[in-house]
């Protein structure tokens, strides 16, 4: 990754070859505030990774979203949410990541104000440079009174990946870039990972299709990374909503970006998945969201189920002893009739 500075010049296209070496944790920072919903990421991913067409296709009726969800045949998924003015994040500002406060407790009253300038952009040039994504211009009276949230969802490449931990064959592994990848040659299609993922990402592909029966998900373009190229989606993204690079660097950049947006008065700004102190140990692919995670179909407090394994095995052990005790009772008492 060529980015080394943490400046807020976020529209400078990263591009270029991957400079990182094995041992560096790489990730995605998806800045949804600049996503334009073009779905170039979905197309580039499908093309590079030869992901087959979905079996069921057609219109969902859910805004511009006809992909629906991540799955075996959709490794990027752009979500579309049309939101009326005055919407208040349901959390009321209770952030999910690092207890950071969410901006915009009071909702979107600013849509009605002073069209042409985002609220808070009364001051410095720096603030004025924050891209006007949200619709202050659109909010001129008589035009519209809603904002459109768009977000390119992807596998989160968890630090404590549930899919990997429950995989009975060892098909799922951590790469030298700390990404989570399924070895298709090993996967026997047991489907346990499908039930384990707290985000509903990984899925078994239908038997009729190429690679049918196995579990599939985003590899963060493992093959491209090994060839010192960035993933196809990040390269295709025209607005740098999808940024790829060393995770530390991306996290620092995201902090700056979130602060800028909050200073500009954008409501609902919150980082999602950036904090390692979470139920999945943080994500290798994290997001800057403009509303609560639930609105985007993301779980607000995901937990790797295996972290409760001690409790689960403890209960199983007690149950086994209970079974033996019940059988003993059945034989111990009473005569023989």
């Amino acid at each position: 990754m060529t980015h080394s500075s943490h400046d807020s010049d976020l529209l400078n296209h990263p591009g270029g070859p991957v400079q990182g070496s094995a041992g560096t944790r790489f990730g995605f920072f998806t800045d949804t505030s600049v996503c334009i919903g073009c779905k170039a990421c979905e197309v580039a991913c499908k093309e590079w990774n030869q992901v087959p067409a979905r079996e069921e296709s057609g219109f969902t009726g859910h805004s511009m979203d006809n992909t629906g969800a991540l799955g075996a045949d959709s490794w990027r998924h752009v979500a579309f949410i049309e939101q009326p003015a005055g919407h208040v994040p349901a959390s009321g500002g209770a952030g999910v990541d690092g207890d950071a406060e969410v901006s915009g407790r009071v909702g979107l009253e600013w849509f009605g104000e002073d069209p042409g300038l985002p609220p808070g952009a009364h001051g410095s040039e720096e603030q004025r440079e924050v891209p006007n994504f949200g619709g202050a211009e659109l909010a001129a009276p008589g035009v519209t009174d809603f904002r459109w949230l768009m977000s390119s969802d992807v596998c989160k490449h968890c630090t404590e990946a549930a899919c990997l931990e429950v995989c009975p064959t060892g098909a799922i592994f951590y790469t030298e870039f700390s990404t989570v990848v399924v070895q298709d040659e090993v996967c026997n299609g047991c489907g346990y990972c499908v039930t384990a993922c707290p985000y509903g990402v990984i899925e078994r592909r239908s038997p009729g299709q190429h690679g049918g029966g196995g579990a599939f998900k985003c590899t963060m373009c493992y093959d491209r990374m090994r060839g010192e190229q960035q993933p196809a989606c990040a390269q295709a993204c025209p607005t740098d909503s999808i940024q790829f690079g060393p995770l530390d660097e991306l996290r620092a950049r995201a902090e700056v970006r979130a602060e800028d947006l909050i200073a500009a008065g954008v409501p609902g700004v919150q980082l999602y998945g950036a904090d390692p102190d979470s139920g999945v140990g943080g994500n290798g692919a994290f997001f800057l969201l403009l509303d609560d995670p639930e609105v985007y179909g993301l779980p607000p407090d995901p937990v790797t189920p295996t972290r409760n394994l001690r409790q689960i095995w403890g209960s199983a052990g007690a149950a086994a002893l209970g079974l033996a005790a019940a059988v003993a009772v059945a034989f111990a008492t009473g005569g023989r009739r």
Partner: protein, 330 residues
């Protein structure tokens, strides 16, 4: 909680173009508005098919039967021991084919034994099933051939231990997932499956053993049924709103059937005893059906729970509201 895929409505909470709000009431009475993405599910439904619940039943019955075999031998009920051993062998015979048929790539079933992974209940369970089916099969074979009595005894002892593991691990298997109705019942599912397995093992042994020799099996069946009903009640109370799926759709039908059939079956076996053979046989058959229905109820409940975004999102947001955000593993 409402079901997924309800039509979006523009209510007073401002639901339009994607953010459907639903109300979730936590067990402690906290009511929160839960936004969803077009009412779509957050997690995936299991990829599993009909073989899995039948395996849960067959494996559970087999494992508990092996425990019954050892108890019968120790207590000197040799007829019962022999018959229960055959029940175990029958369960063992169908279990691996059911599991292999459920795989997306059945020809790679041996990859299950490629590694031993304590973090994967399915890996541990595969090793339990592989070793248990070998030992239980050997026990039956040696008995049929009437060879090597000391080795028979050893096989019966090992099969009882592995059989107990066999009966409970499937509860751990479904508990170690992100599906709310399974994961939140993680302390209840292993005992529920153990009790259900015991009821089935006792009922099956009762069916194939003479009335004189089957008294302990009848007692095991009734005891298992009573425990199953008790644990089930406790599980649903513990689950609160997440457990409402046990009252709806397919899981609801299986659950109601399981309770009715198990209760009736246990009563008939208790009343029939060793004298009214017909009543006892009918009761035993009902207990077997009850065990099947319990497994199917749990299985289908998992699908329904996964489909409902509020079941996934509600408890998580409630944790955040209470200030109980999940922290990293220490």
């Amino acid at each position: 909680m409402s079901t997924a895929h309800a039509a979006p409505t523009a209510g007073p909470t401002g639901a339009a173009g994607g953010t459907e709000q639903r109300v979730y009431t936590d067990a402690d009475g906290t009511t929160i508005a839960v936004p969803t993405y077009h009412g779509r599910p957050v997690i995936k439904e299991p990829a599993w098919t009909w073989e899995v619940p039948w395996y849960l039943f067959a494996g559970g019955m087999a494992g508990a039967s092996s425990v019954l075999v050892l108890g019968a031998k120790l207590a000197g009920h040799h007829e019962l021991a022999d018959r229960a051993r055959w029940v175990a062998a029958a369960g063992v015979a169908v279990s691996p084919p059911l599991l292999i048929a459920d795989l997306g790539r059945p020809t790679r079933f041996l990859n299950m034994l490629r590694v031993f992974k304590p973090t994967s209940v399915m890996s541990v369970g595969s090793w339990i099933l592989a070793s248990y089916s070998g030992v239980a099969g050997a026990a039956s074979g040696l008995r049929a051939l009437d060879r090597l009595p000391p080795l028979q005894d050893a096989c019966d002892v090992v099969a009882a231990g592995l059989g107990a593991g066999m009966t409970v691990y499937t509860g751990a298997l479904v508990a170690d997932t992100s599906i709310p109705v399974w994961h939140e019942a993680r302390r209840h599912l292993p005992p529920l499956f153990a009790a259900s397995g015991l009821a089935a093992a006792g009922a099956a042994a009762t069916l194939v053993t003479s009335p004189e020799g089957s008294r302990p099996a009848r007692r095991a069946a009734v005891l298992g049924a009573a425990l199953e009903l008790t644990v089930d009640t406790a599980m649903r109370r513990h689950l609160g709103p997440i457990g409402e799926v046990y009252g709806r759709e397919e899981a609801g039908r299986f659950h109601r059937a399981a309770r009715a059939v198990t209760t009736t079956g246990a009563a008939l076996v208790a009343v029939g005893g060793g004298r009214r053979r017909g009543v006892t046989v009918a009761g035993s058959a009902l207990l077997l059906a009850g065990s099947v229905c319990t497994r199917w109820a749990v299985y289908r409940a998992g699908f329904q729970s996964a489909r409902d975004p509020v079941a996934t999102l509600g408890p998580q947001r409630a944790r955040l509201v209470r200030g109980e955000r999940t922290r990293a593993r220490s």
